[in-house]
């Protein structure tokens, strides 16, 4: 009788052990560790999607205009860098300004808020050459909402241009490593 009772008790203990093992991951509390990998990133928004180049006179003064933009950037903590460039992706059409390789007829100067460093000299833009708008060093961080910048354009007013409206597309690219 005593032996039988011992067997029953042992079986009950084993059942409890099995239950505890099967539900080992359940407890009154649980912990989880959230992790995220923050990588270098960059983005920009052109705030003036159409930039009109105008001249105030009729004596062949240059055309001028300004393109405003907002950028966000995060460069790598060690050894990182970044740039913003402007490239002519669709040239002016027939009868308008012709901007062959090496041309300096279309140029811009830059104003870029920190952490960017704006171009320090006029940058030419033509069918080959993209201009550098800004550069960034290692571990550069824009503000949460982004930082501002602008490009002031100058286009030579060549008498060879036909009268009318001429349109080109300039693409701004921001990158970070």
């Amino acid at each position: 009788m005593k032996h039988l009772r011992n067997i029953i008790v042992a079986a009950a203990v084993c059942m409890l052990c099995f239950t505890a093992t099967a539900n080992a991951q359940f407890a009154a509390t649980g912990t989880t560790t959230l992790s995220l990998t923050v990588a270098s990133e960059a983005a920009l928004r052109i705030d003036s999607p159409t930039t009109a180049l105008t001249t105030a006179t009729t004596v062949f003064d240059n055309y001028t205009g300004t393109t405003n933009f907002t950028y966000k950037i995060r460069s790598t903590k060690t050894g990182g860098s970044g740039t913003i460039t402007a490239a002519l992706t669709t040239p002016f059409g027939s009868g308008g300004p012709v901007l062959p390789s090496g041309s300096t007829d279309l140029q811009f100067t830059c104003v870029v808020s920190s952490p960017g460093t704006g171009c320090t000299s006029a940058q030419r833009v033509n069918i080959v050459d993209a201009g550098t708008v800004a550069t960034f060093g290692t571990d550069a961080h824009s503000a949460r909402a982004g930082n501002s910048g602008s490009v002031a354009w100058t286009l030579v007013n060549d008498p060879v241009y036909e009268t009318g409206t001429h349109t080109a597309t300039v693409t701004f690219t921001v990158s970070a490593t």
Binding site: M1, N23, Q25, F26, A27, A28, T29, G30, T31, T32, T33, L34, S35, L36, T37, V38, A39, S40, E41, A42, A43, K72, I73, R74, S75, T76, K77, G80, D139, H141, S142, A143, R144, G146
Partner: protein
């Protein structure tokens, strides 16, 4: 003499037979326990600067008292993000929403993870129990999900950052 032995023998043979009764009582008390995965990576949803997000399944079993009982699961950060230079609970607002509670009611709205206070995950009413169908829940274990979102702020330095969260059950 033979008869006496036979009677004695019969008495010996039946000496181990007995009948007794045993009252068994059990007190069922309110209880709760849960299970979550040990690690949850948050991934940037879009590039560039898309929010970091991830979904945490929460499995739980709970029994609450039939009268005046209640149960809950809450969440609290055990510390700040580490290492420094990345997101912080104080400044970056790690947020979550709750959904899909198969027992009780998932938290409503958007919650902000805090080091200082517990925030709700699931609220369980009185008389609730887990598994087996009515009057208990159909699912065993019961489950819910937490959808975490963290803004991808350009001010974070590049690197890997972690924060430990503690979920706690409570039942009455």
């Amino acid at each position: 003499m033979r008869l006496a032995l036979a009677i004695l023998g019969a008495a010996v043979c039946h000496a181990d037979t007995a009948t007794t009764t045993q009252a068994v009582t059990v007190e069922i008390v309110a209880a709760g326990k849960l299970s979550v995965q040990a690690a949850l990576p948050l991934a940037a949803q879009t590039s560039p600067f898309g929010d970091f997000a991830g979904t945490l399944p929460v499995n739980y079993r709970m029994r609450t008292s039939a009268t005046g009982g209640s149960g809950s699961i809450t969440l609290q950060a055990a510390g700040e993000f580490s290492p420094a230079g990345g997101p912080t609970l104080a400044g970056s607002a790690l947020r979550y929403t709750c959904g899909g509670a198969t027992l009780g009611t998932a938290c409503a709205g958007t919650q902000v993870v805090s080091q200082a206070a517990q925030t709700p995950v699931v609220q369980v009413p009185s008389g609730a129990c887990t598994g087996g169908g009515a009057p208990c829940s159909a699912a065993d274990p019961a489950s819910s999900q937490l959808q975490f979102v963290l803004e991808n702020d350009p001010r974070f330095s590049t690197g890997v950052y972690t924060v430990r969260l503690v979920l706690t059950t409570s039942s009455l």
